[in-house]
């Protein structure tokens, strides 16, 4: 197999049920190496469930997940060494300071202490968390928590970043910083897959994307292939068959 042909992430027949409800319904997805890949879909479409299975935090009921050819569930050590993860809504050891979280994680990953120190220092500075080095994570704002979690994902220099809603609750200046970091990462050969509800952001950053609805991939490919001649937002509404509400009622508003 040619190294360049190996997908950064490959989901095949991925399935997850919660009781009678099927959260992820036999998803097949291929994220090319070196791509900036967007995962979009309505609330409850199955994006987070799919990402949790992709990083080995949720056991699938069927299907396979491969990261650069390594199966996450049969070769977890090999696969997990290649990824950096930013999950949505999961806790950190929040009584530690941001610096302590990075030190802890760096040493846990077996990085040399001086490398951990130097990278933690740089990450905190670049992500503008250096003013809060002595603040416990529990006292961070939502945006700061997002940034320190992103720092944990970047610390060990992974080949693939899997980010669930990385820009949510992040201020515009920090969002621009994160965009630049991710674009540099991809330009240097890394791969990024991230979920988002902000179509303009996906349109601006991604070269490939997939639309997930009701646990299935309903569209995927390059940005041009998925959106066609319209904006991504219009294409998305058309693909998921949604109807935009808000036209009727509320006649008293601003009258």
């Amino acid at each position: 197999m040619n190294g360049n042909d190996v997908a950064a992430l490959e989901l095949a027949g991925l399935l997850k049920r919660f009781g009678d409800s099927v959260a992820v319904d036999h998803i097949d997805l291929r994220v090319p190496a070196g791509s900036f890949f967007g995962l979009v879909g309505p609330n409850g479409a199955g994006k987070t469930t799919a990402l949790l299975m992709a990083v080995g935090l949720l056991r699938p009921d069927g299907g396979t997940v491969r990261i650069f050819g390594r199966d996450v569930w049969t070769d977890p050590v090999g696969a997990k060494a290649l990824i950096g993860v930013l999950p949505d809504g999961l806790a950190l050891p929040d009584r530690l300071t941001g610096r302590e979280v990075l030190r802890y994680l760096g040493l846990l990953r077996g990085l040399p202490a001086d490398v951990v120190e130097q990278r933690a220092d740089e990450l905190l500075r670049v992500l503008e968390l250096d003013h809060a080095v002595d603040t416990a994570v529990v006292d961070y704002s939502t945006g700061m928590k997002k940034k320190i979690t992103l720092a944990t994902a970047l610390l060990h220099s992974p080949r693939l970043l899997l980010l669930d809603e990385p820009f949510e609750a992040v201020d515009p200046v920090s969002a621009a910083t994160i965009r630049t970091i991710l674009q540099r990462f991809v330009a240097a050969g890394g791969s990024v897959i991230f979920s988002s509800h902000v179509m303009a952001l996906v349109e601006r950053l991604c070269d490939h994307l997939a639309v997930i609805d009701k646990g299935r991939v309903v569209a995927s490919g390059s940005l041009a292939e998925v959106r066609g001649s319209q904006s991504l937002e219009d294409a998305f509404v058309g693909i998921v068959g949604a109807r935009t509400a808000g036209v009727e009622g509320l006649s008293w508003l601003a009258s």
């Binding site: 990083v55 080995g56 935090l57 949720l58 056991r59 977890p76 050590v77 090999g78 997990k80 060494a81 990824i83 993860v85 999950p87 809504g89 999961l90 806790a91 950190l92 050891p93 929040d94 009584r95 530690l96 300071t97 610096r99 302590e100 030190r103 802890y104 994680l105 760096g106 040493l107 846990l108 990953r109 077996g110 202490a113 001086d114 951990v116 120190e117 130097q118 220092d121 905190l124 500075r125 503008e128 250096d130 003013h131 080095v133 002595d134 416990a136 529990v138 006292d139 944990t152």
Partner: protein, 533 residues
């Protein structure tokens, strides 16, 4: 407006007394009714020493007033009409302030307090109608004072208590008070006797001098027809109430412009400090202020050990569990020792270790979804277990061993030495692996109110029995025959045998825990996630 607030408060209160929390609310109602009726009965009782009734009623009034002031603060601000609801409404502060004050009187708790403060009427009735009327006036003023003081306290201290550190502090204080009260129940008869036999004038003067005691002093004065003192006491109560009513609107205005989260007024965002401090020079095992915690190994297990040691000292739940274990463990033996029986003293350390171990058997459940960080790092499961084991040994071990050595020496008895030296080190070592294994096998989340869930409480109680049985049965198998057969050799042989068994047990349990985390990490994580949702 007061009407709207009263109906809003009633609707929220109705919701709180329905559903899952109903049982707890009704249990609380039963307890408070019991306390109120008990207070009333102290007013009806006849005391031999003149003024004893006033002392007792003044003391109990202090308890009720403290309950009104500290209750909403310790349980997290006012649970019904939160001030934050009104921050954005275009209502003049003075109008809102008085409407909220009026709404504060539409509170069912008043009924219980009325029964309790009626002790003042009962106390006066013994001396005639005039004193009873004075008691009625004093009871009314005490009731009004309690309600207004409660509102003012929320406005003054609410933001600090609502902050994360304030909540932590409130939780610690509440747990400390409950634990100490449960241990110090033997102190109540002692205090009651001091108040009623007139042997402690200082204690009587203090409870009478506080505002909560002024009503009782007025009734006592009325019974002696000292109408000047009656007027002074009731006038002072009315003045204090008036002062609080005047202070309330500006305090409310201050409170409404504060951030509920931080307890500080909103200030312009500070520029980020970029002082170029040589961060790389900070030691890896540094405390929050850069102070070294310890010389920890710069390895994956050392990283987990550092995390655990910091979390033991910084997480409220962990500190709370250690504190309760210590207080209960030592309290039982020391209370017995005060009555002359020192047999329990040598075993205080052992009791502390057993309680602490049982409390920490939910280690993965208590840490919540932060487990994901361990699971996404390849091969981190073993380091995680090893770090937790060492952290337990370093946190619980020295405390338990020191308690055992010191209190056994203090007891002045020789017979317990082989018993405690066989049991305590073995318990510390054995629990280290066992509690991580139990934590990996059984994950319980927190209950809806943030406290331990019933399943977690049950697990703790089972562990209190099961852990000593599993860890100490080899020691018991040598110590008991040794004691029955008067064999010193058997008793001392229990020490190495017990420690060896505990070490083997701990090692096997830690290996099993690591294997469990490796093979069932996602399932453990799902259980944590489901219970944290």
């Amino acid at each position: 407006m007061a009407g709207i607030l009263i109906s809003m408060r009633a609707a929220i209160a109705r919701r709180q007394t329905a559903g899952k929390r109903a049982a707890g609310v009704w249990a609380l109602v039963a307890l408070v009714t019991l306390l109120a009726v008990g207070t009333l009965l102290t007013g009806l009782r006849h005391y031999h020493y003149a003024g004893a009734g006033a002392n007792v009623v003044a003391t109990l009034s202090l308890g009720w007033l403290l309950g009104w002031v500290t209750g909403p603060l310790l349980t997290g601000d006012d649970a019904t009409l939160r001030l934050d609801y009104f921050k954005l409404l275009p209502i003049p502060v003075r109008k809102l302030a008085y409407a909220m004050l009026a709404a504060a009187f539409a509170n069912v708790s008043l009924a219980f307090s009325l029964i309790a403060f009626a002790a003042l009427i009962a106390l006066g009735a013994e001396s005639g109608a005039a004193a009873a009327l004075t008691g009625a006036a004093a009871a009314t003023l005490d009731l009004v004072l309690a309600v207004i003081a409660s509102q003012v306290a929320i406005a003054v201290f609410g933001p600090a208590i609502s902050s994360r550190r304030g909540r932590d502090f409130g939780t610690m204080v509440l747990a400390l008070v409950i634990t100490l009260l449960s241990l110090a129940s033997g102190l109540v008869p002692f205090v009651a006797q001091r108040l009623t036999d007139g042997r402690s004038p200082v204690l009587s003067d203090v409870v009478r001098a506080l505002p909560s005691g002024w009503g009782a002093v007025a009734v006592d004065a009325a019974s002696r027809s000292d109408w000047g003192l009656v007027a002074v006491c009731l006038g002072a109560l009315a003045t204090l109430i008036g002062a609080l009513v005047l202070a309330w609107p500006p305090l409310l205005a201050r409170r409404l412009t504060m951030s509920a989260r931080s307890g500080r007024r909103p200030t312009p965002a500070r520029r980020h400090r970029r002082d170029g401090r040589p961060l790389a020079s900070l030691p890896l095992a540094a405390g929050r202020d850069g102070r070294p915690l310890a010389s920890l190994p710069l390895t994956p297990s050392g990283a987990v050990l550092g995390r655990e040691l910091r979390l033991y000292s910084r997480t409220v739940l962990r500190s709370l569990l250690l504190m309760i274990s210590f207080l209960v463990g030592t309290g039982v033996g020391i209370t017995c020792a005060l009555s002359g029986n020192t047999d329990g003293l040598p075993f205080c350390g052992l009791l502390f270790t057993v309680i602490a171990a049982a409390c920490f058997t939910n280690c993965y459940g208590d840490d919540g979804t932060s487990l994901w960080l361990t699971l996404i790092v390849p091969g981190a499961a073993r380091a995680d277990v090893r770090g937790r084991v060492w952290a337990w040994l370093l946190v619980a071990g020295p405390a338990g061993l020191l308690l055992t050595l010191v209190l056994t020496a203090v007891s002045g008895q020789a017979w317990p030495w082989p018993w405690v030296l066989a049991a305590e080190p073995a318990m510390v070592i054995g629990c280290a692996g066992l509690l991580v294994l139990i934590g990996a096998w059984s994950v319980n989340g927190l209950a809806a109110d943030g406290g331990p869930s019933p399943a977690r409480v049950l697990k703790t109680h089972l562990a209190l029995v099961a852990i000593p049985v599993v860890v100490l049965f080899p020691a018991a198998a040598l110590l008991i025959p040794g004691a029955v057969g008067h064999s010193l050799l058997l008793r001392w042989l229990a020490v190495p045998a017990s420690i060896a068994w505990a070490a083997l047990l701990s090692w096997r349990a830690a290996s099993a825990a690591a294997h469990r985390l490796e093979s069932h990490g996602p399932e453990i994580f799902s259980a944590v996630r489901a219970s944290s949702a």
